[in-house]
């Protein structure tokens, strides 16, 4: 089981409490679609994804980004058992959505950059370490049911 220090717990809670779930998830997902364009193949029915401006302004991307971030919220609220909390989500992504698990890391990286840009200097090395550990656990839990 994953061990969390007090600092890590409070850092994760603090970061997520300051995120606007209506906006941050959409931003991270949009960045993913822009920076790693092959990920667009998962969103064939999202309409216009032809360029960065279109992606950043696409309402379906924004809405789905919010869904994804709410999924992460489940991990935030269940830090001591993310693996169990994500069992169904993992099955969903592997069996139904057929998402290549490499993509979880790409989205995690984009979310890290969104948070870093928002927090500026407050995103210190220690905060970065805690946040990346949390995302690594979330990603690992999402991958669990693939094999």
């Amino acid at each position: 089981m994953v061990e969390w220090t007090e600092f890590e717990r409070s850092t994760i809670q603090s970061i997520f409490s300051k995120l606007d779930y209506d906006v941050a998830g959409g931003k991270a997902l949009a960045r993913c679609l822009v920076v790693y364009p092959w990920t667009q193949r998962y969103f064939g029915n999202f309409g216009n994804l032809y360029n960065a401006a279109a992606i950043m302004g696409n309402p379906k991307v924004a809405a789905h980004g919010k869904v994804v971030l709410q999924g992460l919220d489940r991990a935030v609220k269940n830090m001591d058992n993310i693996k169990a909390a994500y069992k169904e989500l993992s099955v969903l992504h592997s069996e139904k959505l057929n998402v290549d698990p490499d993509n979880f890391k790409l989205l995690a990286d984009c979310l890290t950059i969104v948070v870093a840009a928002q927090m500026g200097a407050a995103f210190t090395a220690e905060v970065q370490a805690a946040f990346q550990k949390f995302l690594a656990v979330a990603v690992s839990s999402l991958c669990r049911q693939y094999y």
Binding site: A30, V34, A52, T112, I113, A117, A125, E126, Q128
Partner: protein, 147 residues
Amino acid sequence: MVEWSDNERAIIADVWSKIDVGEIGPQTLARVLIVYPWTRRYFGAFGELSSVAVVLANRKVATHGRVVLNALDVAVRDLDNIKSAYSHLSSLHRYQLHVDPANFRLLADCLTIVIATKFGAAFSSDVQSTWHKFMAVVIAALGSRYF
């Protein structure tokens, strides 16, 4: 050969012009040593690296961070020939320093995060895309003599 659009060239030059190597270099290397602690094995001669505070205060880390980031200047000034420009550096890392090339990506990730914290919203998805491409080319060039 890598193709760079005029826009990409302008973005890279612009980002680089706003980076203070003396400030960003130390921060970047410190983050690598903090967030990915196994990298400390490369710096046995740097003295104390056992805690976050100590890494951040370590002068050898700061000096070496500047050395590493200064070397990026070579790539910025010669975007069309990064592979040949880094040929010697690649051999150095492979044959003398014995650095696992996976670490180049860790450093690039930390540099990207530091830039995001400094630039905030100005680190748009277009800028992130371009910078990510530049980092990927640098990483590939540094790894080119390994196999």
